[in-house]
């Protein structure tokens, strides 16, 4: 825990120290952001769709099928968008970071970097942390929008709801606290994904077997931390905003 905290502090502290690895930041942003776009869109779309499908049948029992848009919108923006995007990024990027940095560690490339006078935390960890936080934020917005669209597609084509009613409800129900909650979570999740992935990668030992172990640990720990922190963040924000 102490080493994890030190690495996280160091990664952020490096933002204010030269040199700034702008090219690495752009490369990582492209890899994490653009590279994760397809899975985030697919996950978001089908989650929104299945949410509409499942909730509509329950809501219909109370004659409230018309509020499907409201339910999909709130669920996607406050919970499912951030959490599912976080979990997708964990599967794709925390594992990638742990295995890439782990391979570099066991093949002495990290030591070689230090021997060549470069701080590996600054060169490898800081760009990944910043890129993941920023990209997680934007990918969550995309996931939210696509999820609402997916719910809309199902509601209109399969449940016979009116398009304008669905989207009007989906929009009208949202309040600023919901948006703040939905956009604050990915910042924390991005931080968790990248720091956990980098931590396990940078501390890999035991050859190729160790790389596999580090990758598994990174995915498991980051996933659990995302779900646990989601509960804590939700509780705090509900306490602050009252919804």
């Amino acid at each position: 825990m102490q080493e994890y905290t030190l690495l996280s502090v160091q990664a952020f502290g490096n933002l204010f120290r030269k040199p700034f690895y702008g090219a690495d930041l752009i490369t990582q942003s492209d890899s994490i952001g653009v590279g994760s776009l397809p899975i985030v869109i697919l996950t978001g779309f089908f989650t929104g769709g299945v949410l509409a499908l499942q909730s509509a049948s329950t809501l219909a029992q109370f004659g409230a099928k018309a509020v499907t848009g409201e339910l999909v919108s709130l669920s996607m923006i406050k919970e499912l968008g951030p959490v599912l995007t976080g979990l997708m990024l964990t599967g794709r990027n925390a594992s990638g970071m742990a295995s890439e940095l782990g391979s570099m560690k066991v093949s002495e490339q990290i030591d070689a970097m230090r021997a060549l006078g470069t701080d590996p935390v600054k060169k490898l960890v800081t760009p990944r942390v910043i890129a993941t936080i920023v990209m997680s934020f934007f990918l969550t917005i995309i996931s939210d929008l696509v999820g609402i669209a997916g719910g809309g597609a199902v509601s209109i084509s399969m449940l016979g709801l009116d398009a304008s009613q669905y989207f009007h409800n989906a929009y009208q129900t949202l309040q600023y606290p919901d948006i703040i909650q939905g956009l604050l979570k990915p910042v924390f999740f991005g931080f968790i994904i990248s720091t956990v992935g980098c931590f396990f990668g940078m501390n890999t030992t035991g050859g190729t077997r160790g790389v596999g172990k580090a990758t598994t640990q990174a995915v498991v720990v980051a996933s659990v931390c995302i779900i646990a922190s989601d509960f804590i963040i939700s509780r705090i924000l509900i306490g602050i905003f009252g919804r």
């Binding site: 570099m104 093949s107 070689a112 060549l116 006078g117 470069t118």
Partner: protein, 279 residues
């Protein structure tokens, strides 16, 4: 060895190299309470090439990493260019390490970068202009006779070629100290001789202070008994069975220094361990 390199002896980039480049004073290091090195003391003087011998697992690579500040000692003191590495911050160490070239046991080339970017890594970090960068990369690769591999990735190179690229990466900044960690380990005898020839060429042409770890006695004695002939552009035996005066030996056993001296003293030692080890 084919003739490709145009060699020009140059002064080291740093003129402030102290007489004692590297000093170990009673150095010890423990891994999980197990002593790996104990009471290790020796000096590497400017222009000297020190060959570190010892059985596998005795701590030779650990010692080399400590010399570069990659590992810090638990006891004793290590002075690199007159500075106590234990008292330096990681940032200060990064600056100090730029004066040291290191060749790792398994080359440790960055596998996501091609040969050109691997060799140019340090220069790019220092924001050297692309033109100068290219020229110096070509010069370094010419030295190791791999100028045709610029665009290849490490995975496309043989083990021997990777070691030569690692040497090019280590010497491109004309360091004041070169550390070679088993540069011939796992290579066939012909490729090993090529690598040793490069090390000897670097020693005799640039006079760079160096420390070389090896468990191949043959390589060690080739270095001690040969010099680089610039006219013939190859490594030749020193006349009259002579020995290179700047090459000396350090032998480790059980985490301790059991020999520190010249080639002549080593081969004439009466120490039972050394006799058995050299036999």
């Amino acid at each position: 060895m084919p003739e490709t390199a145009t060699l020009t002896p140059e002064q080291p980039a740093h003129s402030d190299v102290p007489e004692q480049v590297l000093v170990f004073e009673d150095v010890g290091i423990y891994f999980e309470d197990h002593p790996v090195l104990q009471n290790v003391s020796f000096v590497v003087n400017r222009g000297e090439t020190r060959i570190l011998l010892g059985p596998a697992g005795v701590g030779k690579s650990v010692l080399l990493k400590m010399a570069n500040g990659l590992l810090k000692p638990d006891t004793g003191r290590i002075m690199l260019f007159g500075q106590d590495i234990a008292k330096l911050t990681e940032d200060e160490l990064l600056v100090l390490r730029r004066r040291v070239g290191m060749v790792f046991q398994e080359s440790a080339l960055f596998d996501s970068l091609d040969v050109e970017d691997n060799v140019a890594y340090r220069l790019e970090e220092e924001n050297v202009s692309p033109e100068e960068c290219t020229a110096r990369v070509e010069e370094a690769l010419r030295f190791v006779e791999l100028e045709h591999t610029l665009q290849k990735f490490p995975s496309e190179l043989s083990g021997g070629m990777r070691r030569r690229v690692a040497i090019a990466r280590a010497i491109i900044t004309k360091p004041d100290l070169l550390l070679y960690d088993s540069p011939t380990g796992g290579l066939d005898p012909i490729t090993s001789t090529t690598i040793i020839e490069l090390v000897v060429k670097q020693r005799d042409f640039y006079g760079t202070t160096a420390m070389l770890v090896t468990h191949r006695l043959q390589d060690a004695f080739v270095m001690a008994t040969h010099h680089y002939d610039a006219e013939k552009k190859s490594m030749q035996p020193i006349a009259d069975n002579g020995l290179d005066p700047n090459t000396s030996f350090l032998v480790l056993n059980d985490g301790k220094v059991v020999f520190d001296g010249t080639t002549h003293d080593l081969v004439h030692s009466d120490d039972p361990f050394l006799k058995e080890y050299l036999a």
